[in-house]
Subunit: 218 residues, 2 copies
């Protein structure tokens, strides 16, 4: 299977897809798109993905975008190991957990939003940091409440690691960017520790990507 | 099937689930949760949905949240009429289109974000309106580009109305709130017109809900 991932080292959505590909043991080539400098808006990338966001997964003639849609696609075409459970109620719960970050917490801290806060309110770097911290903590607190009601055993849906765990781990990556203390979110921290002990997660972390190393050595 | 929907007249996510239930001809009782006055944060509702957002669908002992997860669940348990296509590539495209609004455009204009702009920047009503207009237009423009590359025929995925159309229509509902002119988005407008000609969409529109009528007659 010939797979290419247009992604960015710092993108949490790219992280999610990277983990899914690695959990399914699917080799892929990653093509960097620097969303901080606006490469996603250039005609070359617009031709790949008209939404002008990362990630995009290229599978033969197909170009798939939006991390959740890509992960579901991978589960549709390569069913084992399953990233979504088979039972409809459990599938819904896995998707709900995923959407806590994908549809609620993460969209609020993306570069385009941070840039728009600067344009519209003249927000300075500490203010942008406070904004990102507020929404990242909101997401972590939501996950903590949810995991308290249905404790991971050991993963969010049970024995099998999957979409929900990838999503919680992505929210924790956001906390890593901000150097947040996770002491107030013990269930989230335990689940993330379990995930990041696995190579698929550890090697997908933004700080482990070549682009991060290049950016921090500049 | 005994179904209850915790929703709010103005909530675009509630709109999406209402349409899905009606397309599948599933009767439901709607229980209003006033997210403008903060009812979602009260203990009664927190017990229903620990994320403290609407909508929540109650199906027997199951409580499902996040509009996309609910719609997928409905498609899993009541497969006909299908809201997602059977082909994996088409399924991915339907989900990608849905996530343009669910994961990118809509999260930025929810009440909790508008409230936080007031708290953090002292934003006044015209500024909040400009913020909402910016992100609503971003979403519409993205859909216009996507629909230009794969024109609806007549719906986004072909002959069968479904998740993607529901999501585009929800973005158009956001434009209705702001009284935006859709002339720059002809493909979006044509698709939305087709959708809102169907009773499932028309009767689900926020402006047709009892809560809207009560709010505007105050």
């Amino acid at each position: 299977m010939n797979l290419q991932l247009y992604g960015f080292w710092r993108s949490i959505a790219s992280f999610r897809v990277r983990v899914a590909l690695k959990l399914k043991d699917l080799p892929f080539e990653e093509i960097p798109v620097d969303i901080l400098s606006g490469e996603q808006f250039k005609p070359d990338y617009d031709a790949v993905n008209a939404e002008r966001v990362v990630p995009t997964l290229v599978h033969g003639e197909h170009r798939l975008f939006q991390s959740l849609a890509i992960i579901e696609y991978l589960d549709d075409i390569v069913p084992e190991p399953r990233l979504l459970p088979a039972d409809p109620v459990d599938r819904a719960y896995a998707r709900s957990l995923a959407l806590v970050t994908i549809a609620d917490a993460h969209p609020l801290v993306t570069p385009r939003v941070r840039n728009h806060l600067v344009e519209m309110f003249g927000a300075d770097a500490p203010t942008i940091g406070a904004w990102a911290t507020h929404w990242t903590i909101e997401g972590l607190a939501t996950y903590e409440r949810l995991l308290a009601r249905r404790p991971p055993a050991p993963f969010a849906l049970g024995q099998q690691v999957g979409l929900a765990d990838i999503s919680v781990a992505g929210q924790v990556v956001g906390a890593h960017f901000l150097k947040l203390d996770l002491a107030s979110f013990p269930a989230v921290r335990r689940l993330a520790d379990l995930c990041f002990a696995m190579p698929a997660f550890a090697t997908s972390h933004p700080f482990e990507q070549p682009g991060h190393k290049a950016a921090t050595s500049r």
